[in-house]
């Protein structure tokens, strides 16, 4: 196995372990904090998609000429690969029709080995390609943009208006990072009342595509599609939503930035992270996964005005925590940074007495096999 192939293998193994750990973290958090259940549910769905994507990418890396990872920033595959998956998914059925069946490939492979006494590399690639398209056809992958769906509907008892918990996700093309959004949006449209909001609680399995308010659903989808990039702050997105839809009032918006991901020896990283990874002997533990939860919420609503001198729709005023420079910079109410660290790496850092320095801003989760410990 060449160095590049070994690296690719190690990268995918590390990603797999990290995502496994991440799923455990979300699961545990939902047990620790009851209200996080919805978030867990949403994130789990998207992490599943991401893992499917990685399965596809791993197969693709076996038969295609190159596989690129953004080694400088995110540690994720570059945006082009995400587009490629979407593109290949559309052609999957046609491609599967064209590729030989697994039995045929196996026969050819045996033939190549026994009769021609050659290494069946060609057929290995063919098989990888076949599996790639099969996985793409059968499993949902993480696309460039995943249209919103409503996970909960409830009624604000004070105003009597329905509110929706909406989620959507996108893969940012500049930062090469997957983003998951969860927003709480209040609906004050006149016809929002006809929604059967008494039928509570909203059946959990019955997630609605788009918004329950059908009149706004398509516009909302279009809006989300052009407002999902990482370079836009949450405040920007929320205020734009507030202005574009006079009857929708974003009360809270969260964004989970699932990355960056560091893999020792593969991604380029700063001294601190290098310091963490240097303390690890086993290559299996040479990784570090960080993610960020950003949140912005409305602190008050400026009432609508109808007057002789023009009118204005009600406007949300979002709280930006000016005490915290990080929050000001990112234009959000709060930022939570999390890190998932393999046990051995954390031990090494702890032994050097650098935990506070390195993980000071982070809520740390330590992974040891399938067990997760939350660092208090």
């Amino acid at each position: 196995m060449t160095g590049a192939a070994a690296n690719i293998k190690r990268y995918f193994e590390a990603v797999d372990t990290a995502f496994g750990g991440l799923e455990r973290v979300f699961e545990l958090e939902s047990q620790w904090v009851k209200r996080h259940n919805l978030i867990h549910q949403v994130c789990k769905a998207h992490i599943d998609r991401l893992r499917n994507s990685f399965t596809c990418w791993e197969l693709a890396s076996r038969f295609s000429d190159k596989f690129q990872i953004d080694t400088r920033e995110s540690g994720y595959p570059v945006f082009q690969h995400v587009l490629q998956l979407d593109n290949d998914r559309r052609n999957a059925t046609a491609m599967l029709g064209r590729l030989p069946t697994p039995e045929a490939i196996r026969n050819d492979m045996a033939d190549e080995i026994l009769r021609h006494k050659r290494f069946p590399e060609r057929y290995q690639k063919l098989m990888a390609e076949r599996l790639y398209y099969e996985t793409l056809k059968e499993h949902a992958v993480f696309s460039e943009y995943m249209s919103p769906s409503t996970v909960r509907v409830s009624v604000n008892r004070r105003t009597g208006r329905p509110f929706y918990v909406v989620q959507w996700a996108a893969y940012d093309g500049m930062a090469h990072l997957p983003l998951v959004y969860v927003a709480v949006i209040e609906d004050s449209s006149d016809d929002a009342a006809h929604l059967d909001t008494n039928r509570k609680p909203w059946p959990e399995s019955d997630a609605v595509r788009g918004l329950p308010n059908r009149d706004l659903s398509d516009d909302f989808k279009a809006f989300i599609q052009s407002h999902s990039s990482y370079s836009l702050t949450l405040t920007t997105i929320a205020s734009a939503l507030d202005t574009d839809f006079p009857t929708l009032h974003p009360k809270q918006m969260r964004r989970f930035v699932l990355g960056p991901f560091y893999a020792g020896g593969i991604t380029a990283h700063n001294e601190e992270i290098q310091g963490i990874l240097d303390g690890v002997d086993r290559p299996d533990d040479m990784w570090l996964f960080t993610w960020t939860a950003q949140e912005v919420y409305s602190q008050e609503q400026k009432p609508a005005r109808w007057g002789l001198w023009g009118k204005s729709a009600p406007q949300e005023v979002f709280y930006i925590n000016t005490e915290d420079l990080d929050c000001v910079q990112q234009g959000v109410s709060s930022v939570e940074r999390r890190a998932l660290v393999p046990h051995e790496a954390f031990q090494a850092v702890f032994a050097q007495g650098k935990t506070e320095k390195i993980f000071g801003d982070y809520q740390c989760y330590i992974a040891s096999g399938d067990n997760i410990i939350r660092h208090a």
Binding site: V78, D86, S226, S231, T235, V317, L325
Partner: protein, 360 residues
């Protein structure tokens, strides 16, 4: 959205051409295989086969030119995406009209337009087109690789056969050289001999030798012809194998150019779209929010801190920019190499392409 129908049609046409080409290449190497295995060459019509090979070679030129043309066509199409970016940066007619009365209003209108335009479909379209072309190229390359391997094998066999024939020819010629003096010797002995029994024996010997001599001469003629035919075949198929090799190199150039082009375009367009959109609304949003948070008394206290943070932020941005530049530079460097290779190989096609246009 740019119209790309003509390019689509071209792609289809090329696909057909490539398929036709593949069957021709197959025919070519089949002939080669047959020659390598054939016992006699009587059933192979040299002129027809030669014409076929020539046909394959000329077809190959046409096909390569066609694909190169496609790639330049794709470049034209994507360049026209660039004009969409320009329109995003400038004001359109309605906005200019409004701009006469109110600059702010015009700007707001443009910002609205910019942030609602999505270039996602353009990027998808671009990727799927280049993907189709790359697939054509790759299947073609696979066929070529396979054919190249088997043809080379056959060519080796033909060369080995020719060698065997030449060796046999030499042996036969040597035998003839040997037989000549032997025959003379026997004839002299016959002339000198007086015994009837000896004469009969010698006559028998002479007749044996003469038969062998005649057979050897006939064999020499046969082998000479075979050697000549094989020589012609060898040079003919040498050309064929060379051309296969050449084609493989051409395919590599094309694939390389196309994949780097696509990579660069996606990175470039995505970052352009992103920066345009961000610039359009980040300012506005932050203006609104400073209004909103004015009441916050804590703001004043943190102002000094924000100043420092802003500077740190700028430093961050600089670093980010530098990193971004690095990766763009890397792509640029690779693109330059691919472009040069492409221009070297397909200069003619590029010149011809100037006269036609795919983007409307």
């Amino acid at each position: 959205m740019v119209s790309t129908q003509q390019l689509d049609r071209e792609i289809e046409k090329t696909q057909e051409l490539v398929e036709e080409m593949q069957s021709k290449i197959e025919q070519g190497s089949e002939i080669l295989d047959r020659v390598a295995e054939a016992d006699s060459f009587g059933d192979v019509n040299f002129d027809i086969e030669n014409a076929r090979i020539d046909d394959v070679l000329s077809q190959q030129k046409v096909m390569e030119a066609n694909i190169a043309d496609l790639i330049i066509g794709l470049e034209d199409v994507t360049n026209s995406f660039g004009s969409e970016f320009e329109s995003m940066q400038g004001f359109n007619i309605a906005e200019k009209l409004v701009g006469i009365f109110s600059q702010t209003k015009a700007k707001a209108m443009r910002n609205d337009r910019v942030r609602t335009t999505s270039l996602a479909t353009n990027l998808q379209d671009l990727l799927s087109k280049s993907d189709t072309i790359v697939k054509i190229l790759k299947t073609q390359r696979e066929v070529l690789d396979q054919r190249y391997a088997s043809s080379e094998e056959s060519l080796k066999k033909v060369i080995a056969r020719r060698q065997a024939v030449t060796e046999e020819l030499k042996a036969t010629q040597n035998r003839i050289e040997e037989l000549n003096p032997l025959l003379l010797d026997v004839e002299n002995q016959i002339a000198a001999s007086t015994e009837q029994a000896d004469r009969t024996k010698l006559e028998g010997q002479r007749s044996d030798l003469a038969t062998e001599y005649n057979q050897a001469q006939a064999r020499e003629q046969e082998l000479l012809a075979a050697s000549q035919t094989l020589e012609r075949y060898t040079s003919m198929f040498q050309t064929f194998v060379d051309s296969l090799n050449n084609q493989i190199a051409a395919q590599k150039t094309l694939i390389n150019k196309l994949s780097i082009d696509t990579e660069q375009r996606i990175v470039l367009y995505k970052s352009l779209e992103d920066s345009l959109k961000t610039a359009a609304q980040q300012d506005v949003a932050h203006q609104i929010n400073t209004l909103g948070s004015k009441v916050d008394t804590a703001a004043e206290e943190t102002m000094a801190g924000i100043g420092a943070a802003a500077q740190a932020h700028i430093a961050d941005l600089l670093e980010l920019h530098e990193k971004n530049m690095l990766s763009t530079q890397e792509i640029q460097r690779r693109k330059k190499l691919a472009d040069e290779a492409f221009a070297r190989r397909f200069a003619e096609v590029m010149a011809k392409h100037e006269t036609s246009s795919y983007a409307q």
